[in-house]
């Protein structure tokens, strides 16, 4: 079994258009949440989101290429470029043929679909743009990454709602570990700010009317986010041999299904996923120093997740630092776990644990050390990144400081 190194990272999100900008915002506890700009919000009950501010494809893609890409696929390629450049990959024909691409996305290009369907349903135009299908498909992110770098190896997309990117990264990790491939590009991307999608979220009554306050007593729901985070994974030994910078090691991946309810979380299912990740990493609970929580800021998730953490870690739960960075980058759905794996990697690498921003008041149902509002200096050796999706499909990643 081979050890797995993260050698490249890229990100575009409400916190900025590169990993250094993302890292700086987390350290400052600065939230990227603000009034939604890309969609008319006059008929929306909620007003705020975590968008990539002022985004245009222009600095990144020629117009004709962008015509073929929904915003979510553009984000995937932009983050992949940063990750691959940072990793300093030297492409050979063999590497291009064997490298894997595994992306996560929840809604794919539904924004494109939403606009296309307005044409027929609302404007009675009786025709939809011919690129609607190739722009909408959730695998378009992986496909455009493959075309960007000429990668012809195994490439696919995983869609498990809010766990998508964790399932993708975990799968990529196992493919490196098992010797199936020597290079994997993995992560998640999402762009859900389209009127129809926002109305569907509004109807669920889980979106906060103000901001995202995970674990806070007055939390009122999630805030949607967008963007992408992409990683380059390699076998640790090979990465060291070529002198690559190792940001962190991926040491474990655990999954579970709640088999319970299509939207309500289960502490039992979440706990089983955390235990599975610890088992896969061959770690004792006491070795974990930081958890990047799923922490959506819905009343149900945060209380359930807190109970699950207590169930898994027992007394050690009082010595653990836990934070939800969704308070800053928003809930990126299929990209969420990628943002959070990045936040956990940066926490280990920099020795700075990101805070739970927008925190106002402790909740007895979430009695954990949630790093309220201020980042904290702490050298941590092992961290977990939790993802618990609608549909009860859970995925947890375990990371080790490089």
């Amino acid at each position: 079994m081979r050890r797995v190194a993260i050698t490249g990272m890229g990100a575009i999100s409400a916190l900025g258009r590169s990993v250094p900008e993302f890292a700086a915002a987390l350290c400052q506890g600065r939230s990227g949440i603000g009034p939604i700009e890309s969609t008319d919000r006059s008929q929306l009950r909620f007003q705020n989101g975590a968008e990539v501010h002022g985004y245009s494809h222009r600095p990144y893609f020629e117009d004709r290429r962008a015509d073929f890409m929904d915003r979510f696929a553009q984000f995937a390629v932009i983050a992949a470029r940063e990750a691959v450049a940072g990793a300093g990959i030297e492409w050979t024909p063999e590497l291009r043929e064997t490298a894997a691409i595994i992306t996560g996305s929840c809604v794919g290009g539904q924004s494109t679909e939403d606009i296309g369907f307005q044409e027929v349903y609302k404007f009675s135009h009786n025709r939809v743009h011919p690129l609607t299908i190739p722009k909408t498909m959730a695998n378009a992110g992986a496909s455009h990454i493959s075309m960007e770098f000429g990668i012809t190896g195994p490439s696919f997309t995983i869609s498990t709602a809010c766990s998508s990117a964790a399932h993708a990264i975990g799968q990529a990790c196992w493919m490196i570990r098992s010797g199936f491939t020597d290079l994997a590009i993995t992560g998640g991307s999402e762009a859900p700010f389209s009127f129809g999608i926002l109305k569907a979220w509004e109807a669920m009554r889980v979106v906060s009317p103000d901001t995202c306050r995970p674990f806070s007593k007055d939390r009122r729901g999630m805030i949607l986010g967008e963007g992408a985070a992409i990683f380059v994974l390699e076998p640790l030994e090979k990465a060291q041999a070529r002198g690559a910078r190792i940001h962190a090691e991926l040491v474990g991946f655990g999954m579970s299904a709640d088999a319970c309810h299509i939207t309500q979380p289960s502490a039992e299912g979440a706990a089983r996923a955390m235990r599975a990740a610890l088992r896969d990493a061959q770690l004792a609970p006491e070795q974990i120093g930081y958890i990047n929580a799923h922490g959506t800021a819905t009343p149900a998730n945060d209380a359930t997740e807190s109970a699950a953490i207590r169930a898994v870690f027992g007394a050690h739960a009082d010595r653990l630092a836990v934070s939800s960075t969704k308070s800053m980058h928003g809930h990126g759905l299929g990209a969420a776990a990628a943002f959070e794996c990045l936040a956990a990697t940066l926490a280990l690498r920099e020795g700075v644990l990101p805070p739970t921003a927008n925190f106002t008041e402790p909740d007895p149902d979430c009695d954990l050390d949630v790093i309220p509002n201020q980042a904290r200096r702490a050298e941590v050796e092992y961290a977990l990144s939790n993802s618990f999706a609608f549909g009860g499909l859970n995925a947890v990643l375990a990371l080790r400081k490089a």
Binding site: R45, A203, R205, P209, H261, I262, T263, Q264, A300
Partner: protein
């Protein structure tokens, strides 16, 4: 006998939850009827359509039984008719 508006609310609950109308009374607790949070969200959606009202999240956070739901709906319907009397042109805004 329940009034007409109460009857309509009971019917919406029974139809959404797909339970016999006889099971739903003004005194029913959601817990008794097996109504969880997602069921409640669906019922709110059906009530908004039935009464042509918009039910804000804040109004529903602490609603736990049928009586509270009926009272909430009556309040919003009354506010709507008062608003319509003052400004008849505004009624379509919530559609």
């Amino acid at each position: 006998m329940p009034d007409d508006m109460t009857e309509r609310v009971l019917k919406v609950i029974a139809t959404s939850k797909r339970i016999p109308l006889e099971q739903v009374t003004i005194d029913s607790e959601f817990l008794q009827l097996g109504i969880d949070s997602m069921d409640a969200v669906e019922i709110l959606f059906a009530l908004e359509n039935e009464f042509d009202i918009s039910i804000p999240d804040d109004e529903v956070r602490h609603v736990r039984n049928v009586r509270q739901m009926v009272e909430g709906v009556k309040k919003l319907v009354a506010a709507k008719s008062a608003g319509a009397a003052e400004a008849p042109a505004d009624t379509a805004a919530s559609q």
